[in-house]
């Protein structure tokens, strides 16, 4: 159909539909977010397309190769095109800035219409959920959320949908950990050390695992791997759908049969340990002793490395002795009372609330049925393991079933649902006594109730709040570095030490960065700005390399010469010692050949000779390895400061396990500025061979500037050319093609300023022997004061950290994390209040969280069909 014919057709339709409700002309008058739209393709969308799209996107001029003339109503075959349209229009990419723009309301309605059509059409074809994804949260216009609304937009009081929310993997493991380990109470002298309530940290290999009894291990056989194999551990069962960004929206997850099977398996292990402690995991009871030599007398012969029989546990009890213990100890009778106690204790530990009478009775019966079949021992463990699969042990309901809806259809969370929602916002372990009592006593029903508890919890450092660190991990994504496999040669070129040392350094760095974040949170002043600009560093010894500077070619030459000299000096020293020892040996030999020697004297001389021979052979053997430890590739820094601690896992790798000791220090002058310049963040946004400037650009664009980026078109083979020994910047020239640049313009200039660091996070001034080009630009940020070229990452971060828009975008992300959904226009008042609370309290995270948790979005639920 030609354009003229279409125009006539549209005109004709408009004449007929102009008086019907819900048509273009009427609809343009008012808009309430969330209200269902009326209108089909002909009456609604065609007008918008004609007015704003077809001039450039018809059969005559198909800009960007896109011809919309034949585009009809939304169906499964053209859904991809409609989705792309939705992205372009809501992000205000289209129409181009120089063209006439649709009215705000018209644009919103068109966007909403497309989404609702896609939802309808795709409902039985897998569903359409892109708009609900945290990655698309920025598709809502920032200025409408924080600025004045045009006339005609009428907001409704906001709420979140009723839902059930699967527990997160971290939450699950920490909950289970409470059953078998006792974590230390908070020590104000060592606030960084792992404490009860903190999340179970990942182990030396970055794995999230639950360890049994490792606090009681006093001896094991073999080295690091033998230890890791012999100890009892259970990996996390529940899956995480993604690595980058927010991982935990309610609609992401269920629990499948494979996970349920594993949970049942682990449950029996956990229950047996609760009952018997290490006796449940050893090969022989004699392994539990305070005197390892006693075990040596009876242990099995041969090489025990890696076997459960390789470990000796002390006799000290290191777990809470619960009704499960009482039930199984000795030959104690299986009374209903004892059984009920065990069931109730376990139920509450797993679901965080006491069971109803029916729930308790049901589970008691289940245990009794099992016992009747297989006896007390197996039957109790089998029956009790069912509790681990209770709905509320794996999901948390926010259903507001017992509540009265207000005029907008909203019900406020109450009692246990509200209490557990508040608990989940901050903790992984069950509500503390004060919160539990409030819930049970009917004092968890109002906004004031929530404010009271949240304020109390936030102001008490002894109460651990791992969910805050989780927010920052999801927000910054600084914990991914250890999982990135580096090409050995490419890593060696950075100057960093490779192999396992690299992975360990990165996992350590994630823990260090967490600690730094905690320090800033403790100050609670200008939290975001501090995170972005702090000069503080929490460091291990490895960080002398990672926070160092990559030597230039010339410097490497000089350093190599110095190292060679040092090696020679060490070798000379060894030679001298060997010579000295040889002389002494010759002397002693001569003495021993002497005439009559007393036995005692002879023995002494022989002893002295042997000692020197041993030393000589040691020095000789070690000589080839006795080299200077200098890293010729790096100008290492010397990070000194006060001692502090980071949270690391229990001993998971023998003597090679992670250590909590850290140093609080300052970064070398002029090289770093805040978390985005720390190796943990930089490496997390790199790949096997080099930096990932595009990922870094996306991070800045979305997490700081609130911008959105349409999905990569399916036709694009998004790969940079394989050109060894060229800079990333030069290889990224391919994104400047016209077709690519419309999107890459939003990312590349924001990521390239980080080229002042190599892909192991070391600062560098040259790359392939040329001066580093770390220039970039902030383009189209939405805040004209921000836009403009930057010389490097330091300048860019400095500018961004001063911006109010950036602060507001941060608030949007906090909203998403704590509400578990994307914001919509109705949330504007909540967002503005939260930002004000943050600002008015000097950039206080506590104030921000309190505001969010007492908002309508958090407190109210509405059934969405």
């Amino acid at each position: 159909m030609s354009r003229q014919t279409l125009a006539l057709a549209v005109a004709a339709l408009t004449v007929f539909v102009v008086n019907l409700p819900g048509t273009n002309s009427d609809a343009a008058d008012s808009y309430t977010p969330g209200k269902p739209l009326h209108g089909d393709f002909a009456s609604f969308a065609l007008g918008f397309l004609d007015k704003h799209c077809l001039e450039c996107h018809d059969d005559i001029s198909s800009e960007g190769d896109l011809n919309l003339l034949d585009l009809g109503p939304v169906d499964e075959t053209n859904a991809a095109i409609w989705k792309a349209l939705w992205a372009q229009v809501s992000l205000q990419e289209m129409p181009p800035k120089e063209e006439t723009q649709p009215e705000v309301i018209a644009r919103l309605q068109f966007s909403d219409w497309i989404v609702s059509e896609l939802e309808r059409v795709m409902k039985d074809k897998g569903g359409f959920k892109a708009h609900l994804d945290p990655n698309k949260g920025n598709f809502i216009d920032h200025n409408l959320l924080f600025g004045p609304l045009p006339e005609g937009i009428k907001l409704e009081p906001t709420s979140s949908p009723t839902r059930i929310w699967r527990v997160t993997p971290q939450e699950h493991i920490t909950r289970l950990n409470e059953l078998i380990n006792i974590e230390p109470t908070f020590d104000p002298e060592k606030p960084g050390v792992r404490t009860r309530g903190d999340v179970v940290p990942t182990n030396h290999g970055g794995e999230l695992k639950l360890y049994f009894g490792t606090d009681r291990i006093i001896r094991w056989e073999g080295g690091t791997v033998a230890y890791a194999t012999a100890v009892k551990s259970v990996p996390v069962v529940l899956a995480s759908a993604r690595k980058h960004g927010f991982e935990n929206y309610p609609d992401f997850y269920s629990v499948n049969s494979a996970e349920a099977t594993q949970i049942l398996d682990k449950a029996e292990n956990i229950l047996r340990y609760m009952a018997y402690g290490p006796l449940a995991i050893v090969g022989m009871p004699e392994q539990i002793t305070d005197d390892p030599k006693a075990y040596d007398k009876v242990k099995p012969p041969g090489d025990l490395r890696g076997l459960p029989t390789a470990i000796v546990y002390s006799t000290k009890v290191a777990r809470e002795l619960t009704p499960v213990y009482e039930l199984m100890k000795d030959d104690s009778e299986l009374t209903d009372e004892r059984l009920g106690d065990a069931v109730n204790h376990l139920f509450e530990s797993l679901t965080f609330r006491p069971p109803t009478t029916k729930e308790s009775d049901d589970y008691v019966k289940m245990v009794k049925d099992s016992v009747a079949k297989v006896g007390k021992e197996d039957g109790v463990f089998m029956g009790l393991s069912a509790l681990f699969l209770d709905r509320d042990a794996l999901f948390r309901p926010e259903l507001t079933e017992a509540g009265k809806a207000d005029e907008y259809g909203r019900v406020m969370l109450q009692d246990w649902e509200l209490g557990l929602a508040v608990n989940h916002a901050l903790h992984y372990i069950k509500p503390d006594d004060s919160l539990s009592e409030a819930i049970a006593g009917g004092k968890m029903r109002t906004r004031e109730d929530v404010e009271r508890e949240v304020t109390r919890i936030l102001s008490d450092d002894r109460i651990r709040k791992p969910r805050l660190l989780r927010f920052f991990r999801d927000y910054f994504d600084h914990d991914l570095a250890g999982y990135i496999c580096k090409d050995s040669k490419a890593l060696a070129r950075t100057g960093a030490v490779g192999g396992n040392n690299y992975h360990r350094a990165m996992f350590d760095a994630a823990a260090s960065t967490d600690r730094l974040i905690e320090l800033i949170l403790a100050e609670d002043k200008d939290v975001l700005k501090e995170l972005l600009t702090t000069q503080q560093v929490v460091a291990t010894k490895d960080d002398n390399t990672y926070f160092g500077r990559r030597h230039t070619k010339e410097e490497v030459v000089v350093a190599s010469a110095a190292k060679k000299k040092e090696d020679q000096e060490l070798a000379a020293k060894d030679d001298a010692r060997i010579e000295e020892l040889e002389k002494e040996i010759v002397e002693l030999s001569a003495q021993l050949k002497g005439e009559t020697l007393e036995a005692k004297v002879k023995k002494t001389l022989e002893g002295q000779k042997k000692k020197r021979e041993d030393e000589k052979s040691r020095v000789e053997k070690n000589k080839p390895r006795n080299k200077s430890k200098m890293n010729v590739n790096v100008a290492e820094t010397n990070l000194e400061g006060t001692k502090l601690y980071a949270r690391v896992s229990r001993k998971s790798f023998g003597n090679g396990s992670m250590k909590p000791e850290r140093t609080l220090t300052t970064a070398p002058e002029g090289q770093r500025l805040g978390l985005l310049t720390h190796p943990s963040w930089l490496v997390s946004h790199s790949d096997a061979m080099d930096n990932h400037a595009i990922h870094r650009g996306i991070w800045i664009r979305t997490r700081l500037l609130g911008g959105g980026i349409p999905d990569v078109p399916i036709t694009v083979d998004a790969q940079l050319p394989d050109e060894p020994n060229t800079t990333l910047r030069s290889r990224m020239r391919v994104t400047r093609e016209k077709y690519c640049w419309t999107c890459h313009e939003k990312m590349d200039p924001l990521g390239l300023p980080f080229e002042m660091y190599n892909h192991a996070g070391l600062f560098r001034t040259t790359e392939y022997d040329e001066p580093v080009d770390a220039s970039g630009e902030i383009i189209d940020s939405g805040d004209p004061a921000l836009d403009g070229p930057v010389e490097n990452a330091l300048e860019m971060i400095e500018r961004l950290s001063e911006s109010e828009r950036v602060e507001q975008v941060f608030v949007r992300h906090a909203f998403r994390f704590w509400m578990g959904r994307n914001e919509n226009l109705n949330d504007a008042p909540v967002l503005q209040a939260a930002h004000r609370a943050y600002r008015d309290n000097g950039g206080s995270m506590k104030a921000l969280i309190t505001s969010l948790l007492t908002s309508d979005a958090f407190l109210y639920r509405k059934v969405i069909d």
């Binding site: 794995e207 609609d251 069909d865």
Partner: protein
């Protein structure tokens, strides 16, 4: 003697209508395969710590030869009566799997494997289970280790996978495995376990289902997956339970060795019994046996080997009494496998005529190897689909993936390569397609 076909047919007439072809091997398909050759079942026997070619290649044999006049070396002497079914293949490589202490999933997957690293793709045993005649339990894996390890960790996953990040567990506790397969026809303690567990799972499913009724529509689908999961867990139980009469003919006898093993080999023997019975009864068509469970551990005290674990990999295998004993034990297990399969008529011959056994290691030729040589023994000619009774020293540089592609071809799947991209092949495969040297 009940022939397999007759027993299945009689059940099929009764139950086949109710359950359809998914319950029993597809007889019509089996018939067509029987005429075309090719295996109906495949067994993978992976002995850890490496497979030194000197322990299987007849002395002095260096080039392609018949085994007819050769004497098999002592470690595999037990296979002498089955020589005409045997094909010893030397010269495959697995450099790209990074064997070192074990290639883990890479041994049966033909890709890089490493300790603690999830599988990056499916493995050949799983892929075969998808194309061979369908069975109730497509693929069964059993794992043999030291008694402490089998008790402490009754299931581990190191060798088989159904896809990237989806490992398949090996079963090591014969009591648990018996309960899983034959719970419906078991008696005594195992039956009680079975009934207790089934009852509990049913109850959990009911409770979960009840909790789901009041959920908002948006959540029902997600929660429904959770409830459906219990259905899945109970599903295999139910399907096996419904053919329990048929299974009765094949279930092994549960004796003291199950509950009170003196040596780990007592459990190894019984695990093999269970594997064999699963094959004979048609419950499964692919069996993977992990002797040493794909890692560096394992013990064989029951055959008089005192050393265990890592040390076993740090010794020469050739002429070493320890390794002679271990491989002799392996050979005895293989013989038992073959004898059992030969005892069941199938088609115009026996089950063994339609079975392929692949014997190798998950660690190429030894620990700390580069993987440049990966010896394999094949047993069974599958009605002439495979060349047998010979030794082949392969030319060129063909990876173990090529062997797997060859087996797939005989199972009716034409593929140039298995789990190997053209890019990888340019470095790791001097040829393409199946191994002509082993196919008839």
């Amino acid at each position: 003697m009940i022939t397999r076909r007759r027993s299945l047919q009689s059940i099929a007439t009764g139950l086949g209508a109710a359950f359809g072809s998914s319950m029993f091997p597809d007889l019509s398909r089996a018939a067509s395969l029987a005429s075309a050759g090719g295996p109906k079942r495949v067994i993978f026997f992976m002995q850890n710590q490496g497979f030194d070619p000197a322990t299987c290649i007849p002395a002095g044999m260096t080039s392609n030869s018949s085994l007819a006049k050769a004497i098999l070396p002592e470690p595999i002497a037990a296979l002498e009566p089955f020589k005409e079914k045997l094909h010893i293949i030397n010269g495959l490589h697995g450099i790209h799997t990074s064997p070192s202490h074990s290639a883990f999933f890479g041994a049966l997957g033909g890709y890089r494997g490493s300790d603690g690293v999830a599988p990056s793709a499916s493995t050949i045993d799983y892929e075969l289970s998808k194309v061979l005649p369908e069975t109730l339990l497509p693929h069964l894996c059993i794992g043999m280790d030291s008694i402490e390890n089998m008790k402490a960790k009754p299931t581990v996953a190191n060798l088989s996978a159904r896809g990237a990040g989806s490992p398949i567990f090996m079963h090591s506790n014969p009591n648990h495995l018996y309960e899983m397969l034959y719970g419906g026809i078991s008696s005594g303690a195992i039956r009680n376990q079975h009934e207790a567990r089934s009852g509990m799972l049913d109850r959990i499913e009911q409770m979960a289902s009840a909790e789901g009724k009041a959920l908002p529509a948006a959540d029902q689908q997600r929660y429904g997956e959770f409830v459906q999961g219990f259905n899945d867990m109970n599903g295999l139980r139910e399907r096996l339970g419904s053919v329990s009469d048929h299974l009765r003919n094949f279930a092994p006898v549960v004796d003291d060795g199950y509950t009170n093993p003196e040596f780990e080999t007592d459990w190894h023997d019984r695990l093999l019994d269970l594997g064999v019975s699963a094959l004979k009864s048609g419950i499964t068509s692919v069996l993977t046996i992990g002797s040493g469970r794909g890692e560096i551990f394992g013990a064989w005290k029951g055959v008089g080997v005192e050393e265990q674990g890592h040390n076993l990999g740090h010794m020469v295998q050739k002429d070493n009494p320890i390794w002679i004993k271990i491989r002799q034990y392996n050979s005895q297990l293989l013989v038992r496998l073959m004898e059992e399969l030969e005892s069941v008529p199938e088609g115009s011959g026996t089950m063994m005529d339609n079975t392929l056994i692949v014997y190798t290691s998950n660690n190429a030729d030894k620990q700390h190897t580069s993987g440049a040589n990966w010896p394999v023994m094949l047993l069974g000619n599958c009605n002439g689909a495979f060349k047998t009774g010979c030794f082949t020293q392969l030319d060129g540089k063909r990876p173990i993936n090529a062997l797997y592609a060859s087996i797939l071809k005989t199972a009716g799947v034409d593929c140039e390569r298995f789990n190997m991209s053209e890019q990888m092949a340019s470095k790791y495969d001097s040829g393409s397609g199946p191994l002509k040297e082993i196919l008839a």
